[in-house]
Symmetry: D2
Subunit: 298 residues, 4 copies
């Protein structure tokens, strides 16, 4: 046989589960998009089509919904841990389970004297987590995407390499804007360790990231990225590594001179494509990296 099977994984992707918890007249929501991916002793289904080792993807979907009832959804991370443990420990052929979850945040519609069951979707970033379990150790990588931020000043870009294709003028006061995609890896890996408080951790990471973005006087987006990453690691002991993919959302100063107008950093064209794309990992000194390099496909 001239060909062989390499790495493979399968499962049900994008199971949309909404869990309502009732605390009297006050309701709580968890709104998740859960993707299950399993791997293990799956050669035969590829070679011959025998499904003898295959738990159907439909079953993995059912399990997501059943576990939402059986275990509740305390946090996306905790829910992913329940699921991953179940698949690896209950099915002999399955050696590794990876659960990816997107979480959408809702805030309350405040109405005086009313019961608390009305919500509006916040719509800012999408929260992410990925839980991987191989039967002995855990890897938890959480993150977010689509968090768009802007500094309207305190950003420069100059002193760069010029070659024969360089036409960009140096900038001493520019807009710096990006749509943050970030992943951070927890150092929790063992059931014997105490688990982090996942909800608090997320809120604090987001806060530190935003503050580092706002407070950094930027000479390059790379510098800002590094500050965002190191701020997280310095403040959150539970996190060892952060990976960012930061598109430089260019805001070009419009040339208004043809119309007899001076544009004193007031009017900008917000461009779509192309965009600079800055990607890097920031690590706690001494740890090995674990987050894959490419968070996007472009």
């Amino acid at each position: 046989m001239p060909t062989i099977l390499g790495q493979n994984q399968y499962g049900k992707a994008e199971n949309r589960v909404v869990r309502i918890t009732r605390d009297g007249a006050t309701h709580h929501i968890k709104d998740l998009n859960v993707s299950v991916s399993l791997s293990g002793d799956m050669d035969e289904v590829h070679y011959s089509g025998s499904n003898a080792h295959v738990l159907p993807t439909d079953t993995t979907k059912n399990t997501v919904y059943a576990f939402a009832k059986e275990h509740g959804i305390e946090s996306a991370e905790q829910f992913g841990i329940h699921l991953a443990r179940h698949f690896v420990t209950s099915q002999e052929p399955i050696r590794t389970a990876r659960i990816r979850i997107e979480e959408y945040t809702w805030e309350r519609i405040g109405t005086a004297g009313e019961d608390e069951h009305s919500f509006v979707r916040q719509g800012q970033e999408t929260r992410l987590t990925q839980i991987t379990y191989d039967g002995s150790s855990w890897e938890v990588v959480s993150g977010l995407k689509d968090l768009t931020v802007m500094n309207s000043t305190n950003s420069e870009f100059w002193g760069y390499v010029k070659d024969k294709y360089t036409t960009l003028p140096e900038a001493y006061d520019r807009i710096l804007a990006t749509e943050v995609s970030a992943r951070w890896r927890f150092n929790w890996s063992d059931d014997e360790q105490e688990t982090p408080d996942w909800e608090t951790s997320y809120a604090q990471v987001k806060k530190h990231m935003l503050q580092a973005f706002a407070e950094t006087y930027s000479l390059s987006l790379q510098q800002t990225l590094y500050q965002m990453g190191s701020r997280i690691i310095e403040n959150r002991d539970e996190i060892d590594e952060v990976r960012f993919s930061l598109p430089n959302k260019h805001h070009f100063l419009v040339d208004l001179e043809p119309f007899g107008l001076k544009n004193d950093n007031e009017v900008y064209f917000a461009a779509d494509r192309p965009y600079g794309l800055i990607e890097a990992t920031v690590l706690r000194d001494g740890v090995e990296p674990g987050i894959p390099v490419d968070l996007t496909n472009l």
Copy 2:
């Protein structure tokens, strides 16, 4: 000639303009997507290709950026009024100008003792406005899209028609969720009238709409829609008409009985397609409707 030209319009669509206003170290942002559409005496360009009456779409783009400097952007509505007036009054062949604007909201990243130039995009709804001017009267229709709301209880659906294709069981406690697309028409139409306070009006309309959604015990999404519309008109004298397009974002209770579990309105599957689509206009009694019926193409 067996064919003739009918209604026509042209212009530059989706001009992305960001305007920064500096109040000392405190900056303010307006972030708009402006589409210009002009019509008038344009037969010849269609019949023969003569551009003698055609102001280039590129010029309409330049005008957007120049006006952002010359007039500033106090509100999307006011900015659209400046633009529409300019095109109709400065170019003889242009009889009508329609300006459509999307607005994206930014909130400040609060950092103690820092200058105020750092922002995060709010990401909830997109704010909309459309200004139409024919040289004598104005029509302003504002609105929003992508505002997702949910009531986790206080919604029923029963007592409906049953025919031979009906299988739906009646529901006495269901989730009601929708992604609001709304447009509301102002009764301001004449330069002699005082213009509304566009920013206050928007904030108040959104507030009333959300409160009506939250406070209505719903027997049908149509009923909730009507309450949302009438609440706006009752509370905002400047508005005469509201049009809604409300997809019923179905949340189906998952059947957990095969797993020996009871689902007491706790675990839902959030479905994508198909979805109910409820559309209606609510009018101040005695006024003529002016907002087109179809806000979507499906």
Copy 3:
């Protein structure tokens, strides 16, 4: 009561139905996305929440699937006619039914000596139709979207109005590219008339539209639009009106002079936003227009 209900409509949107027809070992596919919209005597459901006149949107969904079996899907238009007639004639409160359908085209994967049951989605334009029935007369508007075309020469743009905001240089050889969105209205309106051959009509309209685009030496996109529309009406007796929404997909010649290179209409930047947007109706002389003006929301 200070507010009243205006136009309203409801139904199930985006019912995805795939119909396989077996002609021995040769299979045929129809792949549709069907949206149902009903209106009539629906005041009470808005005012009081009474569903006594409401056929559930879920039932309209069931009807789509049942009719795919009962009537088959000869064409999207014919299928829409069956559905619209059913809703209006079977439910007293329903006065008007509008059925919108998107159709996706599949082509065969040719495999020598194999049975014919393998397909690849063509992926070019999406075919559209909209059937409206009020119990006595029919309106059928078909169309397409997302058909992207380009002429790499034989396009000019000059002789236009110049005002103080005009900077665009005249062009004597440019790329003309657009993503066609078109709707055309049939003059069939009565059950007594013979229905058009919907499948042949679509293929011929697309052919004439593409040929008119290719063969027109263009002095403006408006001129090309008019040629595309009039070519259809002149060649297809069953069609009285065509509406186009044509974004001018700008391809900007890149300035390579800073690099010592001459760009002789060879290297272009394909821009996203902003874009010119040219919209117009072409009519058979003497008929009244019926297609709404705005095919997009921008």
Copy 4:
């Protein structure tokens, strides 16, 4: 310093370049979306903001357009090789260049006796390539995405594991449909080797992939995937590895019994989410895998 920099890369993403080549009155198009990603000695820009080693992303954009003129675009792969070689050999701090390209295919609008400069975008799959160069060896991974295929019969699924969450009935005649995302790695890695004929290779890989999909009587999507991959490797000596990400686009047989109808594999509901996701690598026996495992983020 408690944190350090890990892997990093930067460049200009999504440069949209269209290259017209004129062969008399016959024109040829190449339509690409080019993303540049560079890495090397870039610590300082992250740590201190010094751009002394940074070739601006704007320059990498300029280079794409200049190279389209200087070298032409024979194929996406060849164009990427020119670019990658340039960045690595011309800038000392840059050690590795990775060029990712999407390619959009256009076909001619045939018009009798006309010049050949009119095109319609094919719109089927998007063609992909990724070129990586570290100054000594090359890696070329080509591929495609969004190629949707369907077998309307000759697919079964049974004999799988049943646990307490399994409710899926076995299927002996089902629709099998997927939207192919594939990447294949060439064994060309050295300037001394003859380069493959990239255009012929692509056409042949697509042909073999489609034929394997059509001709495989499928007991599982995994089996079909493996047949698709091995067919490519067996027929194309230049390719050593193929990675697939195949969503199982579920087509559920609609239950028409409540309406007194029998659904004999005729009427299907095409579902969106959730979907099975089957991913695997197929390798030429004896080679090491090189394509990353995750082609999507879900």
